[in-house]
Symmetry: C2
Subunit: 352 residues, 2 copies
DNA sequence: CTGAAAGCGCTAACAT
DNA sequence: ATGTTAGCGCTTTCAG
């Protein structure tokens, strides 16, 4: 139709290094080097190149260099759901470190479903991310899709809900210790029959929280009673309500509760209110997660903080480290220390 | 060092269409076409190609085709913060529609800071996203960076916190109507002096909620009293507490409150409790946002639901539409109808 | 129905 | 200090 447009006025899509090169009568490689402050390019050339680049509004084309370099500078993240404070914070941590190091973050949500998680992995591999950071979905048992990530030679970092048999780096809080501290705290407040709300056994975090609870009891010389341990899939508000009702109906005579989620703890407190059971005097309660609402419900809910943002930063740093070291990186198993946040719901001995 | 590796056994990075082509003695173009179900390729060839592709675990290289096509199939999203239920839900909506249509979603958080928002825009343009969906940060007043997106010829869709003078498509809820409904509801409950907690005037959502409130008063023949309108930057819990205290100290004698955020409503309710003011009998309260905690606080907080997921889906659909229509798309201003959720905090006339 | 060839924009050997 | 060349993997005219 039309001969090759030289310097026509028609709006070109985007300026490239060739445009800069032509304008300065240098080669594209020189431009490329100048732009990256290559040591063997003269200051004059660099300055000139940068000036033109700026003037014609040149934008480095990531896609092209990604193709060339075989790297996309994108980091894939899979979280169960964005609308949980915890994951939002982890995300912020990851993003912080990633963007400081020139990586973009591609986020997907699994909604806690394996099928979605598998799709997410495919999406991320398709997008040619340079690595994957994820928290395993609740319903995940078979791990083949995660093995595929490793098989592709990409760094894989797990956080929060992890799996040790995968040969991936991990970042978790010490759930055992968090649970131990929480239970210990209840004992110190004078509780002698402490119930525990837990989640599916195959999920590590719940397993460890359960054993932290058991150990704290044992160390205090208190008996462990299986009937005081109530399990549900999701530890939602409703689950907590159900459990509490069950405890009351069975007349278990509990005076303390350590719930592995703030939501379930809230459910229990609701039921207590409905039965005029006073919290904390009749029942002292500690949750887990430090959801924002714990601060302003009535009574304020004592809980375990999970260092969420720190967890994200750490995961991203481990990813970067593995990228850098290439094949011969060493796996890292990081454990952060959770903190007990004391609020009214557990303070029988008002220390004012 | 080493001559060009032909068919050596060394582990190649990833199989390409050339590998498939070689194996079948066809050209790469044929493979490319077969893979995309091009009509003029024989069924036999297609089948063979797909078989080999599957067998050698071929993965389509997005990056390469993005470079070639000048499209990245990535959609950039900027939200103020992921750890708010509302944005988490919007995200889920966007992702749903995007992934159904072959787009990946690149998410960044502005933390409600203009400077970060500007960086986010740069990041996304760098990553060569095909469009941007965002909710403007609270602190944003100058809009040059958003104009740059438009200048790059990319679709720009704003949601929730929008700006009409930008020539971008928008998705919002009808804040005016939501506020009107909330206020009207309070009036129907018998309130006669209704306070309002609002945010910065330059943010549309607060402006509209304020006018919905005014209109509802006017339509009911109630006077508007400027002293009953209290403004804060963030409408956080503390702000609500402060406002409520002020109302009490000044002895404004309010019997209803419509707060433009659930958090500030909660703050007010806390202060009421501390002063033995009963909610809803002495003061009926309606919030805005339908945060999850509104369901289980005591008393349950009436609020306005913002159709968050729907908002995300719609934004993504508009983006797709603009992509498809190219230059001559028509701007779309979509308005969703918010819903009043009645809970105990506002029900003076218990309708059981 | 299939192939050849050119090129998206950038970069890194390998030359000067 | 700079230029030449080739190629990352895919797609798409154009030419059979």
């Amino acid at each position: 139709m039309q001969t090759i447009a030289q310097n026509t006025i028609m709006l070109r899509s985007q300026p490239t290094i060739h445009d800069i090169a032509k304008e300065l009568n240098v080669s594209p490689s020189t431009v490329s080097r100048a732009l990256k402050d290559h040591p063997r390019i003269s200051k004059r050339t660099k300055a000139a190149v940068k000036e033109v680049a700026h003037r014609i509004n040149y934008k480095h084309n990531n896609i092209a260099s990604a193709l060339r370099a075989g790297k996309s500078y994108m980091l894939g993240v899979i979280i169960p759901t964005a609308n949980r404070t915890f994951f939002g914070n982890v995300l912020r941590g990851i993003e912080q470190v990633a963007s400081q190091n020139g990586y973009n973050v591609l986020i997907t949500q699994s909604n806690d479903l394996v099928e979605t998680e598998i799709k997410n992995i495919d999406t991320l591999l398709q997008a040619h991310v340079d690595g994957v950071i994820l928290s395993i979905a609740k319903s995940t048992q078979n791990l083949d899709h995660l093995k595929r990530v490793k098989a592709s030679g990409l760094p894989l970092v797990l956080f929060d809900r992890i799996n040790e048999n995968l040969g991936a780096s991990t970042v978790v809080i010490d759930d055992y210790q968090g649970a131990y501290t929480a239970t210990r705290h209840l004992i110190e407040q004078g509780c002698r029959r402490i119930a525990h709300f837990t989640g599916p056994k195959h999920i590590n975090i719940y397993k460890y929280r359960l054993s932290g609870y058991r150990e704290a009891l044992a160390d205090a010389g208190l008996p462990f009673d299986q009937e005081l341990v109530l399990q549900s899939q999701d530890l939602r508000l409703e689950d907590g309500r159900r459990h509490m009702q069950e405890l009351l109906e069975k007349g278990m005579g509990v005076d303390g509760l350590f719930a592995a989620s703030d939501y379930s703890a809230m459910g229990a407190i609701q039921v207590c209110k409905e039965h005029s059971i006073s919290v904390p005097s009749d029942l002292a309660v500690v949750g887990f997660m430090n959801e924002p609402f714990t601060e302003f419900v009535e009574p304020g809910l004592s809980t375990i903080d999970q260092c969420s943002e720190e967890m994200g930063r750490l995961a991203a740093e481990i990813f970067l480290e593995q990228i850098e070291k290439g094949k011969d990186y060493t796996l890292r198993q990081s454990v952060l220390m959770p903190k007990l946040i004391q609020r009214t719901s557990s303070l029988k001995n008002k220390i004012v």
